[in-house]
Symmetry: C2
Subunit: 281 residues, 2 copies
């Protein structure tokens, strides 16, 4: 079976490497609209063969994986579905799912599309950041499964299991609402903190060298690629704005408790927040 | 030389263990007002000997280290200084320095006090969380050094160097202003995010199990001890409120850009935030 991976960054590259390591019977083709990325991916052995165009990627492969920014997925997916034959299947790895699924919901080949989201990543991007260990033990969320042909879902689920991934199912709207809270909001917060601290400390970077691991942890996601994250924020705009409003309320509550010198109230606020330790290790 | 460590939690316990590992000629006494903590610290070998009271800790030691919450340091320090003799020195490890230094600035034994802050920690607390590797390679900030007798500063600096720590000097007001931005604000943000997400997902913890490493990283500090952090927020209230106002402005700016669908503006905002990668590895 032939696989084409469109987009050879952190996710596409790591996926290619993991497939190469786990399956002997697959041939992995790759394409990236940035030829430097494609060459780098070939140098690093992330895929078996590079391709010259998207058309070729569609022609050569039984399964086509889209590992590109969410706005590019949305722009490309209808065209890809228009150009595949009955036996082919397209799987996307976008971090938002609602608008992508909405856009193709009436497409005659919708059942040949699997909407997926691997909950895996780092703050780095590009083929250099790819590594085989990114996906094992992580969760692959599959959205609106009833819209995809069962054999394609079963096959994809089997592949995820072979890669030691867990699978979970959500509808695409629930996915976007929850991900706004447990992923996208964290990125907004980190970018915001970085802006604040860089502005405050702009005259003296030495101070930032004094910062400890706590700051590094909280601000880490601000190193993420703006080209990837700008479209995510806009494609999930409604739920992120809702989550951000709730978060701003909580931060304002913290501020008020501190301003009003409400020691017990602030202690309670911290105690409630600390409950997260029961869920996250 | 005899050392007394008052407070055998993460910092005091790790410091005791590091001293025991690095120096043969030191005898390390420990005291904690929670006898369970003291017994645990002795079981774990964090100090050589436990003591029955603060008085005994002062009587038995040449150097007294205060590794307790900042409000407790402020309450205890004048009494400790009142009760030491000419050859003794007191060093505190509090995360805020302004109000502590202000309180004893006219004390006749002020020169026998070194105001220090090891930039080291984890989200865990108590003697169980202590480990010898916490302090090496980290920074020890020493505040208002000119107020301390030179021989005590030199000795303490030498001890930090032996523990493979770097030293840095700030006045206590600058310390508190900078730490508000590069440490305390991160904690406020994490506690806030945890409150928001727990409230949103309270009916379904399974969703939180789908959260990735990004959320875990951003919210990690919310696992920190409220007993330690409530006093830090209040002792550094002025600068934390200032930092929080600036942060809220940046988050509101992010929100406005998203609401107004200003794609280029949001991309610029993320790009500015991403500059942090040039400073933090």
């Amino acid at each position: 079976m032939n696989i084409s991976i469109i987009g050879l960054g952190l996710i596409g590259g790591s996926f290619g490497l993991a497939l190469k390591n786990s399956f002997d019977h697959l041939t992995i083709f790759g394409w990236d609209n940035d030829s430097a990325n494609l060459n780098k991916a070939l140098d690093l052995g992330l895929v078996d063969h590079g391709l010259g165009s998207l058309d070729e990627a569609l022609r050569r492969a039984d399964r086509i994986y889209l590992a590109i920014p969410v706005d590019a997925i949305e722009a490309l997916l209808p065209e890809v579905l228009n150009n595949i034959s009955d036996d082919q299947c397209v799987i996307d790895f976008g971090s938002t799912k609602g608008s992508i699924c909405e856009q193709v919901k009436d497409h005659p080949r919708r059942h040949q599309f699997v909407a997926a989201h691997p909950i895996a990543g780092t703050e780095y991007s590009g083929p250099d950041a790819a590594f085989a260990g990114l996906l094992p033990e992580k969760v692959m969320i599959i959205c609106d499964r009833e819209m995809s042909e069962k054999k394609f879902i079963d096959e994809f689920e089997g592949l995820c299991t072979s890669l030691q991934m867990k699978t979970a199912y959500l509808n695409s709207e629930d996915h976007d609402r929850h991900l706004a809270y447990v992923s996208h909001l964290s990125h907004a917060i980190a970018y915001g903190l970085s802006n604040t601290v860089l502005e405050e400390e702009k005259s003296d970077n030495k101070i930032l060298e004094l910062a400890g691991s706590g700051f590094a942890s909280t601000v880490r996601l601000a190193k993420s690629s703006p080209d990837m994250w700008t479209p995510i924020f806009f494609k999930n705009r409604k739920f992120i704005l809702e989550g951000l409003e709730n978060y701003l309320k909580d931060l304002n509550r913290f501020r008020d408790l501190l301003e009003e010198k409400d020691v017990d109230g602030l202690h309670d606020f911290l105690n409630r927040g600390r409950e997260i330790r029961k869920i996250l290790e």
